[in-house]
């Protein structure tokens, strides 16, 4: 049976008819053309399909679209700046060469968005745990962790600076 689902996808309200048997992964890719969301294992093991639902990273392959009614969805396409520029997280991935084949990258970047969003400072061991829901078969994770460390530290410094400035005001 078809159902009409209303979501906010990458900041835009969408109204989309979906088959009730559909996963969010299928809806995002096949109906909305958001192909940064990768179809990997389809059983929630590899993390390639990771998107944010109401700010939290989930595996969209095991998320029923009918449950997304009224939710805010963010994919890598939604990170683009007003003039098409990359987000600081994406830049960190580029600069640290944290990408080889690129299949796991959009999912990892979405987890990074959630991690960085907490504003907390994490060490490498903690970051390993936080990205443990992703499989990368190319890089050995070293450069991915370098990128994560870099962006987490940069964001932390910025938040601390803002906090100090606020205090002085």
């Amino acid at each position: 049976m078809f159902k009409i689902i209303h979501m906010v996808v990458n900041g835009k309200e969408v109204e989309v008819p979906v088959d009730e048997r559909e996963s969010l992964l299928e809806t995002l890719r096949n109906r909305l053309g958001l192909t940064s969301v990768k179809k990997g294992c389809e059983v929630g093991e590899c993390g390639a399909c990771t998107v944010l639902v109401d700010g939290e990273a989930i595996d969209s392959c095991i998320y029923m679209t009918v449950c997304a009614e009224g939710k805010h969805i963010l994919t890598t396409e939604g990170l683009k700046g007003p003039n098409g520029e990359l987000s600081p997280i994406q830049k960190a991935f580029v600069e640290e060469a944290a990408v080889q084949c690129g299949f796991c990258t959009p999912g990892l970047i979405m987890s990074a968005v959630e991690i960085v969003g907490t504003g907390k400072r994490y060490n490498r061991e903690e970051l390993k745990k936080l990205i443990s829901g992703h499989l990368c078969r190319c890089t050995g994770y070293e450069n991915i962790l370098n990128a994560m460390e870099r962006i987490v530290e940069e964001t932390y410094q910025v938040t601390q600076r803002n906090f100090a400035e606020e205090k002085n005001c």
Binding site: G44, S111, G133
Partner: protein, 295 residues
Amino acid sequence: MYDIESVIVASTVDEAIEELVKNPKAEVISGGTDVLIKIREGKMAGCHLVNISNIPELKGIEMDSDGTIIIKAATVFSHITNDDIIKQYIPNLGDAVDQVGGPQIRNMGTIGGNVCNGVTSADSASTLCVLDAKMELKGPEGTRIIPITEWYQGAGKTVRKQNEILTAIRIEKENYEGYHGRYIKYGKRKAMEIATLGCSVMTKLTPDKKAIEKLKIGYGVAGPVPMRCVEAEQMARGKTVSRELLDCICENVLKEVHPRSSWRASKEFRLQLVEEMLRRAFEETVIAGGGNIDV
């Protein structure tokens, strides 16, 4: 596309129960991190689902005026770990559910689903056993409360009827106050792993920190369902904390557990884990409680 016949997204518990009564073949789905995997494997082809993951009254953690902690059944693992009440009073449960799957799974999977599956390896189960959790079920005939010791009926089977919803898990003050707890999971990997064995220990020391006032030992995968080692617990009560006592506890525990061999591990290895993990967890809870095992 999931191989299902239909799905209804319920917005209240009563609506969900009504749907389950209307269709006696319908099954409950919560976070979906287990059910949708089964569906992907083609094991539930043509099923009817009632989805309860978006029901507001099934979300969140509260404390009653008498100190009972109420965890609503559709609360996801990450929200339990990060909850202030859990962090303050039962951090061992927060730690246990922080070892389920990976971060994305913990943002989706719910504690209610974890116990309604009825599997022995569920990371929350052994800790809920040592917390003597009370399971609140709601069905067409009203609400009933089942102690977790009576919850599991066999591998993959619980007392929950098809038309009932687990609404909350209640943990009474007397079952957490004064205790220190620790859950240890053994798996081949640190993440995305099903427990080869899970051991959960809670220890309450006497006011002088020298003896055991109460000890609770729970296991996952040491039998067909999550279990407690009641005889070992009773034997330890009132005894002075020492290495010799720990040896005795282990001896008793090994008589009570009955793990089996599976492709994940042999029975012999599981028995070794039963003892070793108990030793580590017990020692840690004693130290956390201000005691010392080597005095």
